[in-house]
């Protein structure tokens, strides 16, 4: 049953950093570096998992199973409900694990600037990493939920303490929206647990596929469960109109946290939607595909239009995230290999691109103390390297071929055009709008007349350059050779569809 304990070690590895940090004095000179070191270990372990992951096999690997506790019920005293500690990765989750630990590591580097109670920051930061890694490594809904809640709590504290001016409001709206999402998710988990007697994801996928044998879960019940799941992860993704919390967090949270938030946490929504929505309720998804696609188009256009008139770079990027997540929805709604692959690609690609963009926004704040578009301009003449990276990130975001954004949007729309050409035709308008708002924002910062306001500003330093370069090269790598993702992903085998 247990292949190895690698995943447990991986999930718990940030704890080492937490322990070391907590015994260090809070005003120690190297406290920030200690925090960064804390994220290196998980990154290394993830790399090991990633490289050991056997791409020729199907199904779950690195399985771990321990019975955790049993629940007796009066209904069936002889058959207790078993809750297990159940880990494992599929091709889908191993990609997300990789994304998560990479971005966490890079984000921790940008957090080196944090001076105010850095110890607490890094402890929570590492706790957040435990949650994220746990979410992606869980093979069990119960455990998934547990780790999901850990991310929630640590995010709440990170935003609320180290955020911007309106940080408390942002933290609370984060907590409330996501709390509602968790409740809905919990309801789904409990119903599935009670009816199917298991919370193991793979088992559930197999059981729910065999619709004839489902005695208790009628079609309408499953529709309801799917809708609940959609809302739960829709809040996380976010789907319009549940997006306002996310804009606030994007604008208020400290940059390192926003990198993780935009780069990884929002992706939990997509991950959940693909792994559980597609995996558990394929019939329901097919029935509601058109509605889902319409939601996706709304997301895409809505986010794009609003991003067009934002006057602040972080808001532009926040709405751009909404817009890009619309493409994920479109890919899922098309429900064919191209579309789903596009959705996964888009999720990962946007994770990388958003992280890069926010990393650069962090530099911008550090150098120019503002992200207002009208106050910026012509930074390309003073900080050409920074401007180059920002431009490259912007181009990646608007789907330039040769970068990861293109192949994911291409696949998602390719899938959509097979399933629903008309909706696709409306959706492609979003691609034009993406170009418009992205160029508007990026050019407003980099191009134009030089502002004397910001004289003598340093270009990217090594600690900023290296993460940017790493992210950009991965983005280009995926864009030039996307097989690298699909080799690992093996979508058809993971979800058992298409092929």
């Amino acid at each position: 049953m247990n292949d190895s304990f690698l995943l447990t070690i991986l999930i718990l590895s940030p704890l080492l950093g937490i322990v070391l940090l907590s015994i260090m004095p809070g005003d120690h000179r190297f406290i920030n570096y200690m925090g960064v070191l804390g994220t290196v270990l998980p990154l290394g372990l993830t790399l090991i998992v990633f490289s050991l992951f056997d791409r020729s096999l199907s199904g779950v690997q690195f399985k771990e199973y321990h019975q955790w506790f049993e629940l007796m019920t009066s209904i069936s005293p002889n058959e207790p409900y078993t809750v297990a500690y159940d880990l494992g990765v599929t091709g889908l989750s191993v990609l997300f694990l990789m994304l998560a630990s990479l971005i966490t590591f890079l984000a921790s580097l940008t957090a080196l600037r944090i001076k105010e109670s850095a110890k607490g920051f890094y402890i929570l930061f590492l706790l957040l990493e435990v949650g994220i890694l746990g979410v992606f490594a869980s093979e069990n809904l119960f455990l998934f939920f547990l780790f999901f809640e850990i991310t929630l709590v640590s995010m709440f504290l990170l935003v609320g303490k180290w955020g911007g001016f309106n940080r408390e409001k942002a933290a609370f709206s984060f907590l409330i929206y996501n709390g509602i999402g968790s409740i809905l998710l919990l309801i789904v988990i409990i119903v599935l647990f009670v009816e199917m007697r298991t919370t193991n994801i793979t088992e559930l996928t197999m059981l729910l596929k065999d619709t004839d044998s489902l005695e208790f879960l009628s079609g309408s019940t499953r529709t309801w469960l799917f809708v609940l799941l959609l809302i739960a992860f829709g809040i996380k993704l976010p789907i319009v109109p549940f997006h306002t919390w996310m804009v606030r967090v994007h604008v208020e949270a400290p940059i390192a946290v926003v990198m993780i938030h935009a780069g990884v946490l929002l992706k939990i929504g997509a991950y959940g939607l693909i792994r559980f929505g597609v995996g558990f309720f394929p019939e329901q998804l097919k029935e509601m595909a058109v509605a889902l696609a319409i939601l996706g188009v709304i997301n895409l256009l809505y986010g794009a239009f609003i991003a067009l008139v934002q006057t602040e770079l972080r808001s532009v990027l926040a709405y751009s995230s909404i817009s890009h997540m619309g493409i994920v929805l479109l890919g899922v709604a098309s429900f064919n290999t191209a579309g789903l692959q596009g959705a996964v690609f888009q999720t990962i690609s946007h994770g990388l691109i958003a992280a890069l963009l926010f990393l650069l926004v962090g530099v911008l704040i550090n150098r120019f103390q503002t992200t207002k578009l009208e106050e910026l301009g012509g930074v390309a003449s003073q900080t050409p390297l920074f401007a180059g990276f920002l431009l490259a990130a912007g181009l990646a975001s608007l789907g330039l071929p040769g970068m990861s954004g293109f192949i994911s949007e291409f696949l998602a729309f390719l899938g959509l055009f097979e399933a629903m050409p008309v909706i696709g035709a409306v959706g492609v308008l979003g691609l034009i709008l993406t170009a418009v708002y992205m160029l508007r924002a990026v050019l407003a910062v980099t191009f134009g007349e030089r502002r004397t306001l910001f004289d003598n500003n340093r270009d990217l330093t090594a600690v900023e350059l290296v993460p940017s370069a790493i992210l950009l090269s991965i983005i280009i790598w995926i864009g030039v050779y996307p097989q690298v993702l699909s080799n690992t992903l093996q979508l058809a085998r993971t979800l058992g569809i298409g092929g």
Partner: protein, 615 residues
Amino acid sequence: MDYVFLIPMLPLLSFLIILFTRPIYKKAGIVGTLFTGAAFLCSLIVLFSHFAEGNYIVEANWFSLDTVIITVGLEVNPLNALMLVIVTLVSFLVHIYSMGYMANDERYATFFSYLGLFTFSMTGLVLSPNLLQLYMFWELVGVCSFLLVGFYFYKPEAKAAAKKAFIMTRIGDIGLLVAIFLLFWQTGSFELDVIFEAAQAGDIAPSLITLIAILIFVGAVGKSGQFPLHTWLPDAMEGPTPVSALIHAATMVAAGVYLVAVTYPLFSVSEVAMTTVAVTGGFTAIFAATIALVQTDIKRILAYSTVSQLGYMMLALGAAGYTAGVFHLTTHAFFKALLFLAAGSVIHAVHEQNIFKMGGLSKKLPITATLFLIASLSISGFPLLAGFFSKDEILATTYGDGRYVLFAIGLITAFLTAFYMFRLYFLVFSGNSSTEARESPSVMLIPMMVLGALAIVGGYIQTNWFGTFLGDWLETTPYSITFVHHEAPFWLPILASVLSIGGIALAWMMYVRKTTSIKESNERTGLHELLYRKYYVDELYQVVFVKGSRVIAYFWMYVDRFIIEGGAAVITGAVKRFGQAGVKLQSGQVQTYGTVAFSGLVLVLLLIAVLGGYF
């Protein structure tokens, strides 16, 4: 031919080397030129080996989607071998020229790295054997164009122009993208040969094929600056002049024409699509020509001329003149690149772009003036120069295809072209000069001379007298294209020559003999104003699309702010109120607590009494 891959790789290497090695900063021009020159040599070798060995294709797996394997590859057929040579040649010459023109620019190396990237993308585009790869490079050239138009990033006009160039072409690209999607689901492949076979075999419904062809054409319209997506091209003149010559005259804008030529088997199946192409091309030709009549900026006149000439090529393709279109593309690349480089030389000398502030430069810039004259004569269709033959071919095709209205438009455009080109020439070079000017360095003049030679002799690859060499060669294409060659009626070359010379003569009368007042006046009336304002297309777009989308955006933003956030606020407010009501109950007054507790008791009792059936 296995070294075809070198052609895109060499410029890419040049791009990467210049990008990552700062020490060779001042040598960037030489590095770029060497690599591009090598690429040009390769192209020539490929061209000649194509004569000997015929078509060539190599493919490798790139990405798998279910059972479909998406490939990347390189293909050499007559059309793209020719394009390769044009692209690498013009790029090579522009590299040399830029070493002089950009010598004093502080972002000298960046410029050459962009040029390298562009050459890579353009050759990659040309060599693509499938639509997906073609689309990827298609976007990449767009980005290079964007980067180079915005090269002087600190100028607000350059910023706006770069943005406009990218977005306008992107609109077209989306059309192409949708066409690719539709084709994929019809044929299950991105490969051109598979698609063409399906189209010829009638596997795709005729109405759908028309739709697809028109969508592809939308892509071409965006890239080639055809009406109604033409407005970005004149604005793109904000970029450095060598860029205008390379990208916005000879190569990238011709990619639209190339695209239609590549997907010609699709178009030829649909009569409607062909007519669309022809009419759009013809209309754009005359539309842009009329605007060019009254412009005052030397580069903008050339830009509108480019738009007009591209329209000409589209007209040819739409009128089943595959050879004519490609032929004109070739000759146009030579003389239009030359025109831009010469214009650059003038601008380099006088630092001025308004033609009314120039004059008499032929004495100060004799070589530039001569080369400019050659190019102008060539584009005007002066007999026996390159432009004459290709233009004749187009007119003959249009006539032969029975599109008489478009034929007439073509004739008028030819006349207008001759007129505005010589208006430009006479205003800039004839008369007396007061400005200081020095002839450009030889590093700029030599590329121009090469182009000048080609602008003279380039036409002889396809003439009725010496043989239709180009046409015969293009027929060896691997795809089934019906080649129609219309023998021009004997009067056509004469008529065209007369019109061309007539246009030149009219310009001479007006601007050298000065039979009318030609002072640039601020008071323009009626038609003149309309033309000068480019038919108010920009203003129209500004109002309809820019303002329109902003209105929509603001609408949604207010929806976001008031309805969605407001909705959330109402819900939270309600909860808060509820909480506050609860707080009010917790007044600390025991009597209130008592009252509440007692009320609760009464309610419970009532419930028990009613539900318990005691009443």
